[in-house]
């Protein structure tokens, strides 16, 4: 179903304009989450929504949708980043996910926590983006069974 995309010129043109805007806003929300509303969850969903919009408008065979298929290889990477950072805290000699124990020279304890929050938010966003795109591919593959 999502193989061919949408054939309306209006939808395609507005998609070309809107999808980069959504992605940019998603990145902004992701990295601005420490200073205002937002964060990894919303930023990740927005990045995923941009990719899904590209899939639905231009079709999964289009060149611009290649990144959506490639991103499925990163399944579990976000969770690995999150849990891996917790493991690094363990190696640093403290509790799991206590970012103050990250052994980074030249950084005070609050700065280490700041860095830990940024890294875990990137992990959450990656995890959610991949999960959203993966679910869309799974749902779309149901209708394609009969073609084979």
């Amino acid at each position: 179903m999502i193989r061919d995309g949408h054939d309306s010129v209006i939808v395609r043109r507005s998609g070309q304009f809107l999808i980069p805007l959504i992605q940019l806003f998603g990145l902004y929300v992701l990295f601005f989450g420490q200073y205002g509303p937002g964060g990894g969850f919303v930023g990740g969903v927005m990045l995923g929504a941009g990719l899904i919009g590209g899939l639905l408008i231009f079709g999964s065979e289009a060149r611009s949708s290649a990144i959506s298929e490639r991103i499925l290889d990163g399944d579990g990477l976000g969770l690995l980043i999150f849990a891996g950072l917790g493991g690094l805290c363990l190696i640093g000699g403290g509790e799991f996910l206590n970012y103050a124990n990250l052994q980074i020279p030249g950084l005070e304890e609050p700065s280490r926590r700041h860095l830990g929050i940024i890294v875990t938010q990137i992990g959450v966003a990656l995890d959610i983006t991949v999960a959203a795109v993966s679910i869309v591919f799974s749902l779309a593959s149901v209708g394609e069974q009969e073609d084979d």
């Binding site: 929300v29 937002g38 976000g78 926590r113 938010q121 591919f137 799974s138 593959s141």
Partner: protein, 176 residues
């Protein structure tokens, strides 16, 4: 307290929630559910929970609608098979009574924004006082989610990862 736009908002919330259940056309039901999520996001923003409003608007009105629509296109757009029997008399009598009981109980809830309510006297003051000094993060919600309560957030991330994997296992037939 003025009810200039809160009351219409709550009425619209109830109307859209009821409409999504009652309407026969499933496509309309999905779209009404999306508008319900939008109104719910407005209610969250009105209550001051901007982060929750953000998530509700993006996930509830955007992503969930796309998932529902993709599911619908693989099944039937019209709800023609499901027959809804009229509700039994016991439900008609018991549910309003339960509603009255809940309204009576809601009278004992602490007032909105009450500084002496249990929710704002336990650990919330500690977070509000120490979050900026501890983590250099002005948004306290992010500091609590990602640092003080990072283990909870990690398990939530695991839940989302599991949902993606489960959809793949159940629905995917061929390797792409």
């Amino acid at each position: 307290m003025t009810y200039s736009f809160e009351l219409p908002l709550l009425i619209l919330l109830i109307l859209t929630a009821g409409g999504a259940i009652i309407v026969k056309d499933l496509l309309s039901a999905v779209l009404i559910l999306g508008s319900y999520s939008f109104f719910l996001a407005l209610v969250w923003a009105w209550l001051g929970a901007v982060d929750v409003a953000f998530v509700e608007a993006v996930v509830g009105a955007g992503l969930a609608t796309v998932f529902f629509l993709l599911t619908l296109f693989n099944t039937a757009l019209k709800d023609t098979i499901i027959y809804r029997p009229p509700p039994p008399w016991s439900a008609v009598l018991a549910l309003p009574a339960l509603g009255l009981l809940l309204l009576y109980a809601a009278d004992d809830l602490p007032a909105f924004g009450d500084p002496m309510s249990p929710a704002s006297t336990h650990v919330a003051p500690f977070y509000l006082e120490n979050a900026l000094a501890d983590t250099e993060t002005p948004n306290v919600v992010t500091a609590v989610l990602m640092d003080y309560r990072a283990l909870d957030t990690m398990l939530e991330t695991a839940v989302i990862f599991t949902s993606g994997i489960a959809c793949w296992l159940v629905l995917r037939r061929k390797h792409t």
